[in-house]
Amino acid sequence: MVAAALVAIAVLAIVVGSVLVRALPALNLDFFTQGPALFGQNGGGIAPAIVGTLMLVAIAAAISVPIGVLSAIYVSEFAPKHIASQVRLWLDVLNGFPSIVIGIFVFALAIKTKLPILDIGHHQSAWAGGYALSIIMLPLISRTTMEVLALVPNHLREGSYALGISKWRTVLSIVLPSAISGIVTGTTLAVARAAGETAPLLFTCSFASQAVSWNPSQPVSSIPFTIFSYSESPSPDQHAQAWAAAFILIAFVLVTSLGARALLDRSRRRLGQV
């Protein structure tokens, strides 16, 4: 039985260890500041991919954080019990959708539309990729926010009502600020997940140029997609860069996940003591 848990931890250690060892040869300043090398040459870096991932995650967060927090407020403050449990159920179902199908859904939407503003539709773009990532982030942000909102002690709300403060003022000025650190950590966890997703980007944001691009109406390079395409290339130099990119991704994801979880535990404890 101990062996089972040890197997799981051993796998984690082996994966992290291999990434670390194989990433070292390719980690240099060029890697972070330059674009990919010309075809057939060695060297170069993944700067466009780093910029692209930042853009995609920013777009995704801008869409999913408001909707996630607002829907969590509805479930925790306004909804009757049976509606609240239904919303939670369907959010969990959305969480389980395959991420590649979510990318294909955005692709199917994009084929049909063409918005003259923002130049969305008919082609890949960072907007499309960000939207796909936001669908993946939404259930995570919503569920974590619901959890922290439920932890805000009821006597805070009751004290506020007793002073004559209306419900909306109570929610916005008393409940939400108490839960803000939990919301931030939930968002961080969701961002860590979205930063590592490749499948939704295949159909929405993969035919990117090789240079750093800040234009969201065109497809942008991204770290996970770069790892994916380099991993299947015949060039050993690109393999080394794939390991280095994987190292960056794993470091970011693990550090933010660990930190976010520790912060979440701390805010849980603090809310429980109020």
């Binding site: 039985m1 101990v2 089972a4 848990a5 799981a8 796998v11 984690l12 082996i14 994966v15 291999s18 990434v19 408001p66 909707i67 996630g68 607002l70 829907s71 407020i73 509805y74 306004f78 909804a79 449990s85 919303v87 939670r88 969990d92 179902v93 959305l94 389980g96 959708f97 395959p98 991420s99 590649i100 199908v101 294909i104 859904f105 199917a108 939407l109 669908i135 939404l138 919503s142 209306s166 419900k167 909306w168 003022r169 929610v171 590592g196 997703e197 499948a199 295949l202 993969s206 035919f207 996970p224 994916f228 991993s231 393999h239 991704l249 994801v253 693990l254 996940s257 660990l258 979880r261």
Partner: protein, 319 residues
Amino acid sequence: MEALAPPVSGLRRTRHRLDRLGDRTLLALTALAALVALITIALIIWQVAQAAWPAIRHSGIAFVWHSTWNPVTDVYGAREYVLGTLITSFGALLIAAPLSITIGLFLSELAPAAIRGPIGSLIDMLAAVPSVVIGLWGIYVMSPFIVQNIEPWLHSWFGFIPIFGPAYPAGVFPAMLVLAIMATPITSSICRELFVSVPRELEEAAIGLGATRWEMIKGVVVPQVKGGVVAAIILGLGRALGEAIAVTQVIGNGIPLKLSIFQPGVTLASQLANQYSSSISPLFTASLLYLALILLLITFAANLAAQRIVHRFERQRTN
């Protein structure tokens, strides 16, 4: 109390109206956000079905059991991919389910209290590793190791069974292992919560009647949470069914499927991931979306069934 409240002054009346307006606005805004989240599910299913419609109209339901996928002759069929998905996921479950249940039991019953937290966090971190990194590790570290050490051993001992054929660089077996790695954290964390939720009184009553620890686990804990454990396994299955990237990196993209699990194979998700850059004909794209629709419906059904059971257990626990 007074029978009639004193008349409300003008300023207080405005304040009351503003408060009611604010309440209603916040309610409407937040309810709208919750609705958006729910509508997204319906929208996804509807849009994928709509984009797949040309292929559905052309091939009908027989698409599911036709085995030819030939872009050159514009003939498409999903059988190999559906079979591949079912085989890899089932194989992954065979590995992941026992592993996850024992991990859940270990973390809830047998581990010393001090290490439960850290080990649980470590296993959750395994879930946080992006699938493309697991796939990269799978291609260059795990697969060579398996192909050079495990597969020949299995072939030499069990080669008389056709599924254990000769070793091969890329295959269905590494994909099963990768999927097992990805499904285990989910299943084990739900199992752990289920085992912890069994009331202490029941466990202590069993021990008080003279049961050993194992007899208590077998006779009290397991029957209580059997349904939930099945649901946890189905949730892990849902993860395995939909995984595209790590699987496509190690599975070798071989069609038609062979009997040996060491030979290359395909799954619905891996085919979708492989063909994202091809656009041969409108029927090709629509057939690809038909594959996506099949995958979506399978995972949707599995997830919905499993989540209902898990939520029922959660409600029982909090009531």
